[in-house]
């Protein structure tokens, strides 16, 4: 029921968005989906990096600094949000660079 509800809600809002943008070509839509997947992929890479670096820093603090740092710090959900922000900044800076030209 919960799943169906969410699918219906997202389906309706997507339909509304498609109606508003009906003048745009299918090619542009495909390109937008591609860029979105690219950004999500970038966010996943940043997430992997952030968790990995956090894990290494915690172990380094334990071994070298003799100070206990919990490995669970890397489990904080804000790391996901920050990773998405990092991906967006990276993506937009590449776009800006490309549109500025050589």
């Amino acid at each position: 029921m919960d799943t169906a509800f969410i699918v219906v809600v997202v389906g309706l809002s997507s339909l509304a968005a498609a109606l508003v943008a009906r003048g745009r070509s299918r090619r542009r839509l495909r390109s937008a989906v591609g860029k979105t997947l690219e950004t999500i992929g970038l966010a996943a890479v940043f997430l992997f990096l952030n968790v990995g670096v956090g894990f290494c820093l915690a172990l380094l603090a334990r071994v070298v600094g003799g100070r206990f740092v919990s490995l669970y710090h890397s489990d904080d959900v804000t790391i996901l949000a920050v990773s998405i922000l990092q991906a967006l900044v990276w993506q937009w800076s590449r776009e800006a660079e490309a549109s500025a030209g050589p």
Partner: protein
């Protein structure tokens, strides 16, 4: 494959994984594979309640569940001693101390309670507990922790020398159907899988 293509592939896989974890019973199935079914608790020399988290004297949800689980086992007469674990920080009351006060408020006599706030990891807790209980001849323990944490915790306590009777606490329902709850379940399982992998690589298990 170009970097752009690789990123799109990773993005597509991420979206597919997200959809599978949130909108299908995949995480429920993973839980059933990773968490063995609980068996009825048996009498032991001591009940040992593993730490979770405390923030400025406030027990986390899982910490409270585990502490209450320990008190229930004690009140069922399954052991004469209730050991509360859980560290503290920056001069604030430790999780173990907060739990001991809670147990006293729930009618457990102070003489039947032991707080040990020294352990910061499950492995530490197993070692500290051995230091506390082995000199008293208490080797058979009822171990109380979250269901998904139990296989790793029980292995570490057995390695420390204990005979472990498992008393897992359900901290998350394995039959959740809300997408958000399924994602929370997946997160807990993934974290536990990584912890098991780390313990194996480090030679602790």
């Amino acid at each position: 494959m170009s970097a752009q293509g690789a990123l799109r592939g990773i993005g597509g896989a991420t979206v597919a994984l997200f959809a599978a974890l949130a909108f299908t019973p995949l995480s429920n199935g993973l839980y059933d594979v990773l968490v063995p079914p609980a068996t009825p608790p048996e009498p032991a020399a001591a009940i040992v309640v593993l730490g979770s988290r405390v923030d400025d004297g406030v027990l986390s949800d899982s910490s409270l569940r585990r502490a209450l689980g320990g008190v229930v086992l004690f009140r069922q007469g399954l052991a004469p001693l209730l050991v509360m674990l859980g560290a503290g920080s920056h001069g604030k009351p430790s999780e173990a101390d907060v739990r001991v006060r809670l147990a006293q408020d729930l009618g457990v006599p102070a003489t039947a309670l032991l707080a040990d706030p020294r352990g910061r990891t499950t492995r530490d807790e197993a070692r500290m507990c051995w230091e506390d209980l082995a000199p008293r001849g208490m080797r058979r323990i009822l171990l109380v922790t979250g269901s998904e944490h139990m296989p790793r915790a029980a292995a570490l306590f057995r390695r420390a020398g204990f005979e472990v009777v498992e008393a897992p606490i359900m901290e998350l329902s394995s039959t959740v159907s809300q997408p958000q709850a399924r994602l929370a379940l997946s997160r807990v399982l993934l974290r536990e899988l990584l912890a098991r992998a780390y313990n194996r690589v480090a030679g602790f298990l």
